[in-house]
Amino acid sequence: MTMQNVESAPHEDAPTTTEVGPLTAPTPPAPNPAADRIPGDRALSAQPSTWVAWAGIAAFLIFLLGILISVVIDSFGTAWFAKWLPEEFTAGWYSEAWSRFELGHVILVTLVVAISVVALSILIGVPASYTLARRQFPFKKAVTALFLLPVIIPPITFGIPLATVMYNFGLGRTVLAVILVNLVPSVPFVIITMTPFIEQINPAIENAARMSGARMRHVFVRILGPILVPGILAAAILVLVRTVGMFELTYLVSGPGTDTLVVSIFRAMTSAGGSEPRPLVSAMAFLYTAMMLITLIIALRFVNPTQLVARVSAGDDD
C-alpha cells in the first residue's frame, strides 16, 4: 500500500468533521436550504397562510419598533403631547438624568455586579457541570433536581426569604448582597447550559489525554479548557445579559448607592410624590437598552439567536 493510492481514494479526500464537534457544537450546522425544501415546494411567497404568518410577525415588529422608537424620541424631545413628534429636540434629558441619578456610579455598580456574577458562576458552575456530565455518584438525581429548582421557581419566591436572611446578616443594601442574590439563578443556569455541552464532548478525548500521560490537572488545563471555551463564553454572555436585566432579586436587596441600572429606572418611574418627568426616564431606559444591545451584538458573534434564547431558558427578568 502506498500513500499515493490512499490519497487518491475519493473517500480519503473528503475531510470529516467528526472531531471538530466540540469546537463548533453550539451552532447546529446550518441546514442546506436546497435540502430543506421539498422538491416542488414553492418558495415562501404565494401561499396565503404565509401571508398570515408574515402579518403576525409584522404586527409584533410594529409594536416592538413602536416601543423602541417612542422611547428614543421621547428621550430627546420636549413637550410631546398628542402629536406625531415633540415640539423640540434636546439632549438635555441625558445630562440631567446622568447627574440627578448619578448614572456613572449606577453603571459602575451594574458592571461590577454583572462581571462578578459571571466570573463566580462560571467558576462554581463549570466544575459541577463536568462532574454531572461525566460521573455517576450517589444522589446524583437529587442534586441535579436541586440545581434545577432556582431556575424554575419564581425569583420572588426564593428572593424574599433570601433577602430577609441578607438583612439579618447585615448585608442589606450592599453590593455583596446584590452579587450573592444574583448568583442564585446564575450558577444553576451555567450548570444547566454547560452540562449538555460537556456531555457531547467525546469522553474518549479525556481518556486519550490520560493515556498520553496527562494528569487530571493537565487534562483540564490543556485539553478540556480550550474545548470548553465556546460553551463557557456563551454561558458567560447569557449570564451577563440576565444579570444586567435582573430586576426582582436586585430590587429586594439593593438600596441607594447599590442599585443597578434597571432598579434605578424602576425607582425613577415609581418614586413617591409623582414620578420623574417622563423623558428623563426614557433617557435612562434608552441608555440601558444601548448597553444591552452592545452586549448582545458581541454575544451574537458567538452564539446564534435561537440558541441564545434556548439557553436563556427560564431566564430574563419579568
Binding site: 403576525g56 415588529l61 416592538l64 416601543i67 460521573r135 436541586l146 419566591t157 426569604p161 424602576f266 434564547v309
Partner: protein
Amino acid sequence: MTASAVGGTKQTRGTASLRHRLADRGIDSQLLLMVPAIVFILALFVYPFAYGFGLTLQPTEDTVDTWGGGILANYVRFFGDAFTVESVWLTARLAIPAALFNVLVSIPLAIKLKPKFRGKQLISTLLVLPITLGTVLTAQGLLIFAGRQGWLNHTLMNLGILDQPLTLVHNYIGVLLSLIISGFPFAFLLISSYLSGIDPSLDRAARALGAGWAQRFLRITLPLLAPGLATTFILTFVLAFSIFPSATLVGDPSGSTRVLAVVAYRFFGEQFDYPMASTVAIMMGLAELAVVAIVLLGRSFLYKGSTGGKG
C-alpha cells in the same frame, strides 16, 4: 486528583485496591469539583428557603390577633384574606393566557419560517431585541406608544378606525401586552430550535406515503414537537408567573393586576411583615410548581425519544 498508588493489596476476592472499590461506587477525589456548587446551593438557596419556611410559622402578633390560627396564622390569613386569595387568580389569569398565546402563535410561525430564506437572520435578530429592551424599557415604551396619546391610538384615530382612544395601559391588557412582547420571541425561538431538531425527511416520507398537509402536521410534526411545546410552555409560564415590574408599571397594581409578586413585595418592602411576605412567596412558588407539575405529568405520556434530526 492524581491518586497515588495507595490501597489494599489483599489478594483473593475483592483483590482490587480500596481506591478502585470506592471509585466503583462513584466516590473519588473528582467529586470535590462539586463541592463549591453544593456549598453555594446550600448556603444561598436551601438555607434561606428553610429559614423562610420557618418564618412563615412565626406570624407577627398582629396577624395572630386578627386571623387566629396560632403558628399557622400566616396561612390562615393567606387563605382567609380575599386580598391574597384573589391574587392567585389574578396571577393565573395573566400567566396562563400569556404562555398559551406565546406557544400557540409560535407554532405556525415557526413552521412557516423553518425553511431558509433571505432575511431570516434579520428576523431572528429582531426577535431577540426584546431581550435587550428589558421589562422596564418595555413598560416605558408601552406607556408612550400605546398610551392615550401615543402613536398607536393617534394612528388609529387619524385613520378613522376609532373615535375614542383605546385604553391599553394601566390595566390587564397592558401587562398582557408586556408579557407577550417579552415572552413571544422567547417561545418562538425555542420552538424553532425544537422544530429544527426534527428530521425533515420524516415530513418527506409522510408526504411520499400520501399524507396531506394536516395529516402530516397532526400525526408527524405535532407528536414529535409536543414535548418541546410542553417545555416551552413551562418556561414562558414561569417567566409570566413572576412578573413584578410590568404589573406595577403598565398594570393596575392595586386592582386587576395585583399579582402574587406585587402582594409579596408589599408585605416585604412596605409593611415589613417578613413572615407574611415569606408565606406569600412560598405559596406563589407552590402555585407555580403545581402548574409545572401538571404539564410535566402530561409530558411524561408523550413520545420522548429521538426526533431524528440534528437537534
